[in-house]
């Protein structure tokens, strides 16, 4: 039974396509694009963007171990609502995903309950301790797509070097969370004028940049594929830009919150703004936007980090790091599009094409014959973020009350609806 998505603006940078036309889906796959297509069912999409399903390559689904924060089921529903058809979930669960059986568990939960594709990221070292390598080959066989000790950085450079080498043996990229833990110590926010005013222990930008520099040099040494997670500072951007110019196999991601906010936002000690790496200065934020435009930063990833309210409604210094992001990621990036900073095609590039390429995943395109993972986006839909209505099991977003423009209204996974915006759905019924 074929489905026609009618009259939307189809944007597929891989296929070099950006025009208003119809998209035909049959048996869960893309059949063709064109004008005046007909089929048994029709989704009216005029005024909407028709995009390859978005991919968030850096989320924390918290299962197993922290199901009170998020589960594979709830996190995947939040992902679908945010326009994502695939997410890569980090290994810092309990138990840590550092062996094949945990990978198996995650994937079996995903098969039974997930609304979108779930790609596990395995730990680089056992229990994320930065000491012994995890059973990487074993996890690769079970299905991990990358390796990362996200949340911690192996402080021993030798361990990182061997990790990169061993991972490259199995063709897995290493995602580096770059933080020199001796420099960041007990820091809870960017170290600078604002941290001084607030009396909060600071994390200097050098804590990130030192490790970014180290990992780049180790990638150069080993020839392994390195991906830098959630870049936060202009110094790191400069290091990555330099590395790319030299031809090092390095890629990088940036979060919507680092592209949107700076450290001045912390003035009221809102613990939802406590993230790792921290929000940095306005100059850093601008450098990140610049890096995204010029391709130094390849991808946007939310670093969706759910926490229970009890872990956030405490003194700033004692609050957990992280904010949720799956359901605000696309609207926040659309601000850059509405501002003329980013083209719609670039948005698809950083939110779908690049993540697929970096992790070697299918998707990121609407080419003929591929699985029909499609995001329908209403770029003009204005809505106010209400943390209570989000599908994530946690509420730790600083964007509550923000008026945003543009959101996903329908997410298709293999041609089937994984998410449908209620307001959009009711309008569909009226029109059909």
């Amino acid at each position: 039974m074929s489905l026609i998505i009618k009259g939307g603006r189809v944007i597929d940078p891989v296929g070099g396509l950006d025009r208003v036309c119809d998209l035909e889906i049959d048996k869960g796959r893309i059949v063709r694009t064109g004008r005046g297509l007909s089929g048994e069912r029709v989704l009216e999409a005029s005024g909407l963007w028709v995009l390859p399903g978005l991919i968030d390559m850096h989320v924390h689904l918290r299962e197993p171990g922290y199901e009170y924060k998020e589960t594979i089921e709830s996190g995947s529903r939040a992902a679908a609502a945010g326009g994502f058809t695939a997410v890569a979930c980090m290994a810092n669960t309990d138990p840590v995903n550092d062996n094949g059986s945990v990978t198996d568990f995650i994937l079996s939960q995903a098969r039974r309950r997930a609304a979108v594709r779930i790609y596990p990221v395995g730990a680089l070292t056992k229990k994320l301790k930065g000491e012994q390598l995890a059973e990487i080959a074993e996890m690769k066989v079970r299905g991990v797509v990358a390796l990362s000790d996200d949340g911690a950085t192996p402080m021993n450079a030798e361990v990182m070097r061997r990790g990169l080498e061993y991972a490259s043996t199995f063709g897995l990229p290493v995602i580096a969370h770059c933080d020199d833990q001796n420099l960041s110590r007990k820091g809870v926010m960017h170290e600078g004028a604002v941290s001084m005013r607030l009396g909060l222990p600071g994390i200097p930008d050098a804590a990130e940049a030192c490790i970014v520099g180290r990992e780049i040099l180790l990638a150069e040494l080993t020839g392994a594929a390195l991906h830098i997670a959630h870049v936060s500072s202009r110094r790191s951007v400069a290091l990555i830009r330099g590395a790319k110019e030299r031809g090092v196999a390095v890629t990088a991601e940036v979060t919507p919150h680092h592209l949107t906010l700076n450290d001045a936002a912390l003035a009221e000690y809102d613990t939802n703004l406590k993230v790792s790496p921290p929000l940095r200065t306005e100059a850093d934020r601008r450098a990140l936007v610049e890096g995204l435009i010029d391709g130094t930063l390849d991808a946007v990833a939310s670093d969706h980090a759910p926490h229970n309210i009890a872990e956030k409604e405490v003194e700033f210094e004692n609050a957990a790091f992280g904010m949720i992001g799956l359901e605000t990621s696309l609207p926040l990036l659309l601000r850059l599009v509405h501002a003329g900073t980013l083209t719609p095609s670039q948005l698809v590039q950083v939110m779908a094409v690049a993540p697929a390429r970096i992790l070697g995943l299918p998707g990121g395109t609407l080419g003929k014959g591929v699985d029909a993972d499609v995001s329908l986006v209403d770029p003009d839909r204005v809505f106010s973020v209400d943390p209570q209505t989000l599908l994530s099991r946690s509420r730790n977003t600083p964007f509550g009350g923000w008026e945003l423009k543009g959101k996903a209204v329908c997410t298709l996974l293999r041609g089937k609806k994984a998410y449908e915006d209620r307001e959009w759905k009711s309008r569909q019924k009226v029109s059909s």
């Binding site: 001084m196 607030l198 009396g199 909060l200 600071g202 009890a310 003194e315 210094e317």
Partner: protein, 308 residues
């Protein structure tokens, strides 16, 4: 007189110069009360003040307690050792329990910066910041201003040097903000490990040279050196710190004749300040303690009606 009723005193940052002056003027009247034979007035009869001190402090707690009692308020002290926080209760729950006892004013001391802000958002009663982490200690800065003004008859135009661990000191930050609002010039001095990274945004003069810090200063404020910070790589040894950044008689040879030397206490004698300097003619360290009660009476008085 400038006083729009405020609910909370969270930091000097929020106060205008007029408001600071109102607090200081009011404190002068209370100083008179403190000199009476019967050092008590009925002003806050029926008012309940809770001193929630979750970090050790004798000076500030006693000062607030005495201030409250001289105003006839009922004052209860809750300390870290006696509170349920150690038993795992969250700060929010502790605060709600305290408020449920119909508390009118909560004075809070906490090791975490922003703790007073946090409480002011969840509580209806007045919240007075009695020192939060390395953030602010507004009542200390106000009593320091009061003590300077009492001796110098003005604050505007004075040069004040603050010496020590500026980066980790709530006393330093509150004083820098307060002194600047009142029109004083502020200098800070100490080893570079103790000067905060964002210092340029404060508009203070920075020096690493003690003699330059002392020269021409009308007031010198010495900060307490926390010996436990040796482990944090801020300075190699107490001995070296005392030699290079301690205040002693020899250094004072280049000082102004009518210099005032201050210290928020408690003093590490022989570390940041030599005993004969602490007890010497320039020192107004004990004035600070006396004035602390009057200034805190003024704070409690001015903030007491606000919760209505």
């Amino acid at each position: 007189m400038a006083w729009g009723k405020r609910k909370d005193l969270l930091g000097i940052e929020d106060l205008s110069r007029d408001e600071i002056e109102t607090i200081l003027d009011t404190a002068e009247s209370f100083k008179e009360v403190s000199l009476r034979e019967i050092k008590k007035v009925p002003t806050l009869r029926g008012t309940t003040i809770v001193n929630l001190f979750l970090e050790p402090s004798t000076r500030t707690r006693t000062s607030f307690e005495l201030a409250g009692k001289r105003l006839s308020a009922d004052v209860i002290n809750v300390s870290a050792a006696s509170s349920s926080i150690l038993k795992g209760e969250s700060l929010k729950d502790t605060a709600w329990n305290i408020e449920a006892m119909n508390t009118d004013i909560l004075v809070v001391r906490h090791s975490a910066a922003g703790a007073a802000h946090f409480l002011s958002k969840v509580l209806d009663c007045s919240v007075i910041n009695g020192g939060d982490g390395a953030h602010e200690h507004p009542s200390q800065a106000l009593l320091d201003l009061f003590s300077i003004r009492e001796r110098k008859k003005r604050i505007e135009g004075l040069t004040v040097s603050i010496i020590g661990d500026i980066a980790h000191s709530r006393v330093a930050l509150s004083n820098i903000l307060a002194l600047q609002k009142m029109g004083a010039r502020v200098r800070i001095a100490g080893p570079a490990t103790m000067i905060p990274l964002g210092v340029a945004s404060l508009g203070v003069e920075v020096t690493y040279d003690m003699d330059a810090a002392i020269e021409g200063a009308d007031v010198i404020m010495m900060l307490r050196i926390q010996k436990e910070r040796q482990g944090a790589h801020l300075f190699p040894s107490v001995r070296e710190y005392a030699t290079h950044f301690g205040l002693n008689q020899q250094r004072l040879r280049g000082a102004k004749k009518n210099l005032l030397i201050m210290h928020p206490g408690p003093i590490n004698r022989g570390v940041e300040i030599a005993p004969d300097v602490a007890d010497g003619p320039y020192s107004i360290i004990l004035d600070q303690v006396t004035n602390g009660v009057a200034v805190r009476m003024a704070i409690l008085f001015l903030y007491s009606g606000a919760a209505q």
